[in-house]
Amino acid sequence: MDFRFEIITEYMPFFLEGMMLTILLSVVGVLVGCILGFFIALGKMSPVLLIRFPFTWYINFLRGTPLLVQLFLFHYAVLPALLGDTTAVTSVIVTLSLNSSAYVAEIFRAGLQSIDKGQSEAAHSLGMNKFQVMRYVLLPQAFKRSIPPLGNEFIVLLKDSSLGAMIAAPELLYWGRAAASQYLRVWEPYLMVALIYLVLTLSLTYLLNYLERRFDVK
């Protein structure tokens, strides 16, 4: 079997451009997902059933339906209805943010609930109010425990951003497909794209390991 490096060379500028968009989609998706996810976690832990209910179903829907379907739904129905029109990049960012917020919410919830009850009891016994207990005692500990599962979620999100290719968001896989269809060759573009994803996820892994150590210094 021959291997045509010149296809990779030809498409390299596009792959790099696509990689930049992939990074942008993932970073924005992760950040928005984390902020939303935090509030959704709080909502889902509410003792009031009526408040808890919509959050529970928000999470159920976003975790229980295929991401691709969500992407189509947001790109072709929800966002056009809300904003008038949308671009593929906007739709991917919105879909990834909402989807990851559901997973992040569950990670935060698990993190918060894993903190020993004695911690909040001690804080309350010192006169701290609910907000202070959350802010100074529970969150810092829960966040530290959430870093490993959050790291997993980020890596999944990075790869999930490739679904953007379906609606022609020109990210990394989009250019892989473009190269593949020009030459009708699968291996050269897809292996190259896979390699770039691997480089991205490995970098992310190292970054997360570093963060984990930073937060563990005591």
Partner: protein, 240 residues
């Protein structure tokens, strides 16, 4: 100082406190003893509403804290509590453990809080541990920090929930020493403990609880040497 009337507490179907009536005076050191499951810890936790009260009233310093309109956080700042499991904040240094509530609740300036915290650490003999994290402390040291943390709020009353039960035997002494010192200074204290020696030496009064009731209360010597009830006798014969 503390007046408890007809206090009841249920968990679901389980009645843990049935009808508690207790009066605690200022500067008094009251030791609560009793078999496990007697409700003594729950009773203590009702005194600062860490445990919600099902029925009855608790009045502290003339204020009925079981009143729904009561600012519960303000009350808790006045009542210090020390737990069996220490419950130090693992992500904060020893010093930060003590200053955190002073700064957030009492709104003290950081420098003032730190100066006060160092004073308290000196008092419990741990000033050299100010900058370490709780993980590197022994059980006895942790509990002394926890006491210092509670004292930082300058409470009127200190509650101790089995403060030495989780400690290795050789560390019990150092914690009891701090508590004795506190009692000597005139702190009002309610102590749930199995340390009968401490009860005898420091306690002004001992309350024996069983099955959700206060069965008997008296001065330590009288209660230990001359218990009136069969259940008190049975319990004391096992622990003394």
């Amino acid at each position: 100082m503390i007046t408890v009337k007809h206090l009841k507490k249920t968990f679901g179907d389980l009645e843990v406190l049935k009808d508690i009536n207790v009066e605690i005076k200022q500067k008094e050191v009251v030791v609560v003893i009793g078999p496990s499951g007697s409700g003594k810890s729950t009773f203590l936790r009702c005194l600062n509403l860490i445990e919600s009260v099902t029925d009855g009233t608790v009045t502290i310093d003339g204020q009925e804290i079981t009143d729904k309109k009561m600012d519960i956080n303000k009350l808790r700042a006045e009542v210090g509590m020390v737990f069996q499991q220490f419950n130090l904040f693992p992500h904060k240094t020893v010093l930060q453990n003590i200053t955190l509530p002073m700064i957030t609740v009492r709104k003290w300036k950081k420098q003032d809080a730190e100066a006060k915290a160092m004073e308290l650490l000196a008092k419990v003999g741990l000033q050299d541990k100010a900058s370490v994290y709780p993980d590197s402390l022994s059980g006895g040291q942790k509990q002394r920090v926890a006491i210092a943390r509670a004292l930082g709020m300058e409470p009127k009353i200190m509650l101790f929930d089995e403060p030495t039960s989780a400690l290795d035997p050789e560390m019990v002494g150092e914690v009891l020493e701090v508590m004795k010192q506190l009692a000597k200074e005139g702190m009002t204290m309610v102590v749930v403990t199995h340390e009968m020696g401490f009860a005898r030496e420091v306690g002004d009064r001992v309350i024996f609880m069983d099955d959700g009731y206060v069965v008997e209360e008296n001065e330590p010597i009288a209660l230990f040497q001359n218990p009136q009830h069969e259940r008190t006798k049975a319990f004391l014969s096992k622990v003394l």
